[in-house]
Amino acid sequence: MLARVYLAAIFAFVFAPIVASFVFSFNSDRFPTVPLGSFTFHWYETAFSKPGVWEAFRTSLLVSASAATLSTLIGFCTAYTDFRFGFRFKPAYLALALLPPTIPLVIMGLAMLAWLSNVGLSGTVTAVVISHTVLGAPFAMAVIRLRLSQMDPALEAAAWNLGASEWGAMRQVILPFCRPSVIAAFCLTAAVSFDEFAVAWFVSGLNKTVPVVILEILQGNVDPQINAIGTVVFLTSMALVVMAQVLVMRRTRGEAG
């Protein structure tokens, strides 16, 4: 009983801001308090009547799809390397692969902007994609590596014995086995990119992503438009996650049947 109360309290803390933001997005008060004001779509109308907000959504989708694709590709290569090969300097290799998430985002932003503006890339969508791939690849690697650790290494060897080339075994054995984790990695890295604001704020210049727009409202004309945009972002990314889940589940069921 006590355990459940404690769990409920933890979840209340975690979800308080999420629920509050959702409620405030429909509340007429600019600075909400209790009792609440009246129900309104005003903040949605205001936010989504701005071309800049739509622009930001498009940039964000483009960035997160590109960064997730690259991250997943690179993450898969790295996870497979770790699974399959032993070589000198492997600890250094893995450190390099997994280090980026330990660097604070402000510092990543600073370093990225300094470097990318040196090579003439700052302020472009490419700059954001590059940075988000750096951040995302380790996550993709971790997810796929977790799946690979459930695989019997002998399986790949068995394929070679049956006459498959290394490439063939990759196509016939490894890739199918990893598919759910690849999809999961894609979704996870897309979500990481979709919510990342610090590095994007530094390097995006005029190509603002959604979180950068939110940050600008927070620094500027703070009002519940933040909640309205936030709610839409939340629903979008949850829809993507659920879609991915369903896809993965349908696939696994298909394989079983």
Binding site: Y6, S21, L96, I130, A191, D195, L215
Partner: protein, 281 residues
């Protein structure tokens, strides 16, 4: 022939090396180099001067901010670990596997909401005329100042890190061998003592990992100390932003950044060392 044999492994090995070298190692290296550059008339110029280092490390306020950030991050990681532990314990041992899966699912949801949006929601909730104080007002207490204080910043840090810490702790607790725990009980160990003698040592890696992630995230976060803590006083990440804003002093911001990375690496290595150290026989 040998070359051809290399194609397959290198196809998988090289992408991350190339990518992280070009877009992770080089930028960070460049930042270190930049910390020795000069700024004249709002423009950075390649140079090799120690002024930036001398200037930043010679400032009392830099070290105030440094220790404040270290202490806050350490406090956040201690509080998050302690607060999370009973919840993780309950999730690992007291609920059904199905309930645990649901709980983990719900703990993942916050990662798909914008941290900025949640911070803004806290701002409204914690304000002097915000939801909590209005609620307390009905029963005749308050108002309490929660925003623009260390407390506010801590709420932000926990918002950022608590779900992750609970998840990591739950996984590590759930993977502790149940037989080990039951053996301890059978040997007359109280449930409470078993936690300290068996469970915590066995789940050490996950617990330390959770604490370290919490430290790293809080150490580098600028949103909570700024928007919930009123940058009073500023942390290192706020100092970085302030420094870049003021007169193009990027080299000095780089000094702060390099110091932060050094600190984080030291903490991370110490923690990993502690996590994987074999217990004394």
């Amino acid at each position: 022939m040998a070359l051809r044999r290399l194609i397959y492994p290198m196809t998988w090995r090289l992408p991350i090396v190339v990518w992280q070298a070009a877009f992770f190692v080089v930028p960070l290296g460049f930042m270190v180099v930049m910390s020795f550059w000069a700024v004249r008339n709002y423009r950075m110029q390649p140079d090799f001067i120690l002024d930036n280092w001398a200037k930043m490390l010679g400032r009392g306020y830099f070290w105030d901010a440094y220790w404040l950030t270290v202490i806050r991050a350490a406090a956040a990681s201690a509080i998050a670990s302690l607060v999370a532990f009973p919840a993780s314990y309950a999730l690992a041992y007291k609920v059904s596997p199905a309930a645990r899966r649901w709980a983990i699912f719900f703990l993942i949801i916050p990662f798909f909401t914008s941290y900025l949006v949640r911070t803004y929601a806290w701002q409204v909730i914690l304000a002097e005329q915000g939801v909590i104080n209005a609620g307390l007002g009905f029963i005749g207490i308050g108002p309490f100042t929660m925003l623009n204080s260390g407390f506010g910043a801590m709420v932000g840090y926990l918002t950022l890190t608590l779900p992750l810490v609970v998840i990591l702790q739950t996984f590590s607790l759930a993977s502790v061998d149940r037989n080990l725990i039951e053996a301890a009980w059978n040997l007359g160990c109280s449930r409470f003592r078993a936690i300290f003698l068996v469970i915590i040592p066995s789940a050490k890696v996950g617990l330390i990992l959770g604490a370290v992630f919490c430290f790293i995230l809080s150490f580098g976060d600028f949103v909570s100390p700024y928007y919930l803590g009123g940058s009073k006083p500023p942390t290192l990440s706020i100092l970085i932003i302030d420094t870049t804003k003021s007169g193009q002093q990027w080299p000095r911001a780089a000094v702060v950044a390099v110091t932060m990375i050094a600190t984080l690496l030291a903490v991370a290595f110490a923690a990993v060392g502690a996590a994987y150290r074999k217990p004394k026989p």
